[in-house]
């Protein structure tokens, strides 16, 4: 038990160090941009993972929470001059609160009814923002330029400070998930995912725990929304509530392997560079080639590796072990 904990802590530290070392090789703005996207989607994938991978509520509408978070902090900063950091906190709390209210009726829906409900939610909230004059309707809001620095959460010279901020967010999320997975909450989430009836028969208050999962997931996603808003310095419904954000989030997590901590990080580390690079090489976005490759990835993944990269690694590990054992057994027989 204790040895395990030390090993895991060592892994987390090693992971943080690797994360801190990346910028040495990433010297161009483009490679820094890729790093930022990797950490951003790793956090988003983990947030999705809490709700879908652990608690079994598959969401294809995370953009609703993401965009909401982006708008909360942007409106606060544009209209009331609130610091983006405070804005980020407000974004997290507001999206979590919104998700709890929405989650109350949604938590009654199961499986695919829930998934479709989240698609519906994503579309509805986008339409609302597209027509809401006070927040700039379809044109959105520009976040006024400020002197760069951590105080203003704006960095113009280099993208690396964004990366470090994202990395910090990622490490916090991972630490939370590490604790969650080993606690009552994590077990209850998984029990709900596996079989709601059994779970409630064993005393799990499924509505309460589902709401917790939804709220935490939405809160983290909302904070990521603030992050992207500060990174791009503008918010716009078509950008922040885009359906492809919801899809990419789910994909990153599934590709890496959902229902375990490391999966979404792996998924993001592999998929985001691919998607950014194809976009850069094969022409600007809009040709659809990047998303086309995405789609093919999802399909191939579902057909050949439905458990994700982590599942693949586990399987390979198991087969190596089995082979070694077989060889060992053969040696025993020979001697």
């Amino acid at each position: 038990m204790q040895r395990d904990d030390i090993r895991n802590l060592a892994m987390l530290v090693a992971f943080a160090i690797i994360g801190l070392l990346f910028p040495i090789v990433a010297t161009t703005r483009f490679s820094q941009h890729i790093l930022v996207m990797v950490v951003l989607y790793a956090v988003l994938g983990e947030a999705w993972n809490i709700m879908a991978g652990y608690a079994g509520m598959v969401s294809i509408g995370q953009a609703a929470f993401f965009g909401l978070g982006a708008y909360v902090s942007s409106v606060l900063s544009v209209k009331y001059g609130v610091s983006p950091w405070l804005g980020m906190l407000c974004a997290g709390l507001a999206t979590a609160a919104f998700a709890t209210v929405i989650g109350l009726p949604f938590s009654r829906l199961r499986g695919r009814y829930f998934a479709i409900g989240t698609i519906a939610l994503g579309q509805m909230i986008k339409v609302v923002f597209e027509n809401w004059q006070w927040v700039g309707a379809a044109t959105g809001l520009m976040i006024p330029l400020a002197n760069q620095g951590f105080a203003s959460f704006q960095f113009h010279a280099s993208k690396l400070p964004y990366y470090y901020t994202g990395l910090a967010l990622l490490l916090l999320t991972l630490a939370f998930m590490y604790i969650m997975e080993r606690s009552k909450m994590g077990y209850y989430f998984k029990a709900i995912r596996e079989n709601e009836d059994v779970a409630s028969g064993l005393g799990v208050n499924r509505t309460a725990y589902k709401l917790i999962a939804i709220a935490v997931s939405a809160g983290i996603t909302g904070m990521c929304g603030t992050f992207l808003a500060q990174y791009s310095l503008y918010v716009e419904p078509e950008y922040m509530f885009n359906h492809s954000i919801s899809v990419t989030i789910a994909l990153v997590a599934v590709f890496g392997g959902s229902g375990n901590i490391i999966g979404p990080v792996l998924g993001s580390a592999i998929l985001m560079p691919i998607s950014e690079l194809t976009r850069a090489w094969l022409g600007s976005s809009g040709t659809g080639i990047d998303l086309m490759i995405y789609g093919a990835f999802i399909v191939l993944m579902c057909v050949y590796e439905p458990e994700g990269l982590v599942g693949m690694a586990r399987r390979i590990g198991a087969s190596i072990k089995a082979q070694r054992e077989r060889r060992g057994a053969a040696r025993c027989q020979n001697s």
Partner: protein, 244 residues
């Protein structure tokens, strides 16, 4: 000393009255056998008592407190647990983790929950399988696991829905002695069973349902001779022949 008192329980599915004005009670240290032909309403009684179905009438009191149409988790938290007729476990989790989910109800810390879960697995003779994924267990093992999951919630009343169906005679013997041990430890049990040889020797009282109606209740020895029970099980003709 705890007691579950059910009065006038009724459940309708559309036009069908699956449970019709059924009353009974069970106390700690007692095994109540619940028998009846297929479709008699036994499982439906369980579902209503444990909150999985909303009943349409009657009252259910546990230790003087109404648990009528409460939520399943609230009922479990008060100390009433049940197994499912079609065995239900958390497929993707290990046997130990399955039981830990139950144990967390009374032990919030993981270490304590794990300890309690290991005890419960030991009790049903499943310690060997602790790390196996539930989906890979055999049916009898899954049934034991389900009992362990219930036990981990420290229930005062335990309802078993055909836990012994499909088991070999040795396994039935083991299960029966475990049930008796639980009773002797002060638990109240309601046991639904089709296997007469299994239920009759261990039950303190037996209640018979037929088409949702309680047609008899009494000592096992009385029940097997009750003409209404014989006719419910084997048809009127046979019952008449037996009488002659």
């Amino acid at each position: 000393m705890s007691e579950l008192v059910v009065k006038g329980l009724t459940k309708k599915f559309g036009g069908l009255i699956a449970v019709n004005d059924v009353s009974f009670s069970v106390k700690s240290g007692e095994i109540l056998g619940l028998i009846g032909p297929n479709g008699a309403g036994k499982t439906t009684v369980f579902n209503c008592l444990t909150g999985f179905l909303k009943a349409d009438g009657g009252s259910v009191e546990f230790n003087g407190r109404s648990i009528y149409n409460c939520s399943p988790n609230a009922i479990c938290a008060l100390g009433v647990a049940r197994t499912f007729q079609v065995v239900q476990v958390l497929q993707g989790m290990s046997a130990l983790e399955n039981v830990m989910v139950g144990a967390y109800l009374r032990h919030s810390r993981t270490a304590a929950s794990r300890r309690r879960a290991l005890e419960a697995l030991e009790r049903v003779g499943m310690s060997r399988f602790a790390d196996m994924r539930a989906v890979n267990l055999t049916l009898p093992a899954k049934k034991r696991l389900e009992v362990a999951m219930c036990l981990a919630t420290d229930p005062q009343v335990l309802m078993l829905d055909e836990s012994m169906a499909g088991l070999t005679p040795t396994e039935i013997h083991d299960a029966s002695s475990m049930i008796c041990e639980l009773r002797d430890a002060g638990m109240a049990l309601i046991v639904v069973e089709h296997v007469m040889e299994a239920i009759m020797p261990i039950a303190d009282r037996v209640m018979v349902l037929d088409s949702g109606i309680k047609i008899a209740e009494g000592l096992p020895a009385e029940i097997v001779r009750d003409p209404r029970v014989v006719s419910a099980y084997l048809g009127d003709k046979y019952a008449k022949r037996v009488k002659c």
